[in-house]
Amino acid sequence: MKLQQKNSILTHQHYACSMGAAYSVSAIPGGVPIVNCGPGCIDQQYATMSFCNGYQGVAGVGSGDIPGTDTSENEIVFGGAKKLDGVIKAALKIMKGDLFVVLSGCAPQLVGDDVGTVVKKYRDMGYPIVNAEVPGFKGNNLKGHETVVIAIIDQFVGESKVRKRKKLVNLWFEEPYFNTFWRGDYAEIKRMLKAAGFDVNVFFGSESTGVSEWKDIPKATFNLVVSPWMGLKIAKHLEKKYNQPYLHIPVIPIGEEATTAFLRKVVEFAKIDSAPSERFISQEAHRYYYYLEHFSNFFSEYHFNLPTSFATVGDAAYNLAVTTFLADQIGLVPVKQIITDNTPKEYREQILELYHHLSEEVCTDVEFIEDGFIVEEEIENTDFGTGTPLILGSSWEQDVAEKIGGILVEIGTVATEEVVLNRSYIGYNGALSLLEKIYSASIGGK
């Protein structure tokens, strides 16, 4: 049982670098990222996190609109603080926004620029501007996301002694853009928590009111981390800073049973009245099983080579959620699970345990591999039994899927065969969409 792959060369990588966290800023309504790095860096991250990832596009400040220093030889030799100052000054005048976050990459770090001083000058003048240092050699976009969020909390939200609002909760969930279906997922999870009686700060996306939610962070009664590991660092930071407890739910719920259990757990933790949530659960369950009952006709009678075993390749969040749902609720056999997001070592044991206990009588392993070449080799050597091999992964796996005569369904970075708008694969409705997608692909559709 291979637990982990040593950090080494990469090909067909399934993530962007920590500068990709600029898109977390972009995802905040009113957020303006300003990048302090080489001329090509930020556009590259757009390629992996948005364009080649369901062709998500952007709203607000993203893609070509992101202001940047385009660090040149001059800045390497003589220092980049002056150029950064010029870009910030102009950005504050040209870009429409409520929160400006300066993200510094490899070059300024290596030459030792004092970026903090430049940014602080503008913050002292009263501008809502934050400094986050996220060089690519320190980690990928998931790490960058946590760094940027904590920087915003420390430098923008700041100190605060406010009264907590009983039903207000801070949600730390998927990473914007990196998680391909984040927009639909955030909408779905907010819908559910709201129906259960909560007010939710979602911070990113269409359901967020923008910087006012960030300012309200200290007012929340607790932090809700719905993710295997990303967000825990944020929650622990908030525990210290604002005395807020947190609830950690490592498996994003997909399907009625998991989602209902999830809502009940959160309601119980918050100690709020369970009547609204039970009403909601009852309605959703009724609708869910209406569709599942219909689906079961197809599922039991269609006899042309449906998949029986599956592999999942992708970041910890979707990998765990989808593998759990398919193994526990649909009865497909998990035969090869690979997490590609360079999960920090301190979380790997716990995550492995979750795979060991996916469901009754279902125990599987997970490997942490980032090098696509090895991922593809592993898949090629996997025994998928008699059914058509089913791979839930990314576009990088298309060659190996073709080689083994399998079906590929893209569920994460990078996804070039899907156009994603508001589709979600989580919760009650999302589970049904996921089944639709998998089984359309299985019968030969796309």
Partner: protein
Amino acid sequence: MPKKINLNLDTVENREIRLGSIISWDGKASELVELSRYEERGRDIGCSGNRSSGCRLCELNMPFNQSSMCTNSIAACQVGNLTDCVLIQHSPAGCSARNPVFNLSFREGLKRRGKKQKNINIISTNLQENDMIFGAGDKLRTAVREAYSRYEPKAIFLSMSCSTAIIGEDISSAATEMEDELGIPVIPLHCEGFRSKHWSTGFDIVQHGIVRQIANKHPKKQSDLINIVALWGTDYFTDMLKPLGLRVNYIVEIASYEDLKQISEAAATTTFCHTLGSYMATALEQEYGVPQVRAPQPYGISGTDAWLRAIAKICGKDKEVEEYITSEHERILPQIESLRKKLTGIKGYVLTGSAYAHGLISVLRELEIVVDGSLVFHHDPVYDSGSEEQNSLKTLVDTYGDIPHFTVSKTQPFQLPQLFKRTPADFVIVRHGGLAPDLARLGIPSFEMGDEHLPVGYDGIVRLGKAVLETLSKRKFNNVLRRHVSLPYTEWWMNQKDPFVFANKPDILDEDGDRTNEITAKK
């Protein structure tokens, strides 16, 4: 006269130094032609030194900037797209984040050239913080050996990034060592992102490496072979040159090692864009005596005529080419006429790379589309050949007239509102990411030129005309967008008229203008 020193280095100096290229300018195209002083630069005189005429091609200095593309990515775009060679990106993983886009182009390119589709294979040394401190020479050598064992490539390329350049990684030595060890060419590319003001230097660096280390040092002449320096474009050139009994050799994207090797054996080198191909063409001429086609690019009727005649001259096909040109004119003119009827008076605008834009504008004007303004991402005042026939901007202005608002600006979408207030357009041709979406939000339909060869040659005029007609209908969607979605710029900026106001009136940033951002902070 100043002396030269020839070092036969494994790299080439950037375009700002070599050609005097600029990335920021505004004025009339004819002005730019004059300031470029192509003929003088071509004779390598540099600054004339005389009192009244000197180097006046100065850039507009802008403190604000939006990011796009770098030389490192260009290296990946070129040699990362070879069918049997491997590129190793010696950098942290972030520099490989554009590879999924190249994968799309690669797979599409393979389809266009009739080859089997497969994923791109680019390796990253995935450098971590430790490597920045202690160096990563060993990791690089491991990566090279791994690349060799995994893919059995015919050649391996090593590309430098901002971080590896700053910490002083020696990819040249690593390349020499590994070449000795493995017995295949290992080519170092000093293409770190900050190397040049503009990404086009990346093409030169790659082409230099290929000519230096892959081109066949003992060439056997293939007198019917024409090198076409191209990207992923559809194969239209084969049909264009077959009537003259000539074959084509596309380089660099989608080529194989053998395709690259035979560049020194060709009868001539040409390209669809001088910005892309001029370094390679000149290098092949200097090192291997492969003549380059000293002619305008093959766009529009006169451009294509001149280009074909120049090729024919080199290959001794002068009689055949005249017959060919006559029959092509007969075939294509009626189609062009019918398109002109539909397009005359429509206003177009081009937003692409330098020489390519000159070609595109030529074709639009051939179709009687009005082009009052255009924008190029950089300007090379001269190309490496110094050949006056290749002065594409001058050819454009001489053949089709001046362009009153010709802008040079390296992919800065914030200038789009001002540019289009100044020169309204019914459609825009774009070739680069990050621009068309802003145009869409302004309500202007655009055509993203994905297939570079679309407007090439006689048939290209017809293809482009049809594409423009299809683009115009996109107006419907863009107007819906314009009614409900806005650009992320302040009202203050949207009310500005001069796209280069920061250069022309630098004090404007200190004027007490829109302070809404400050106000928000006080909430």
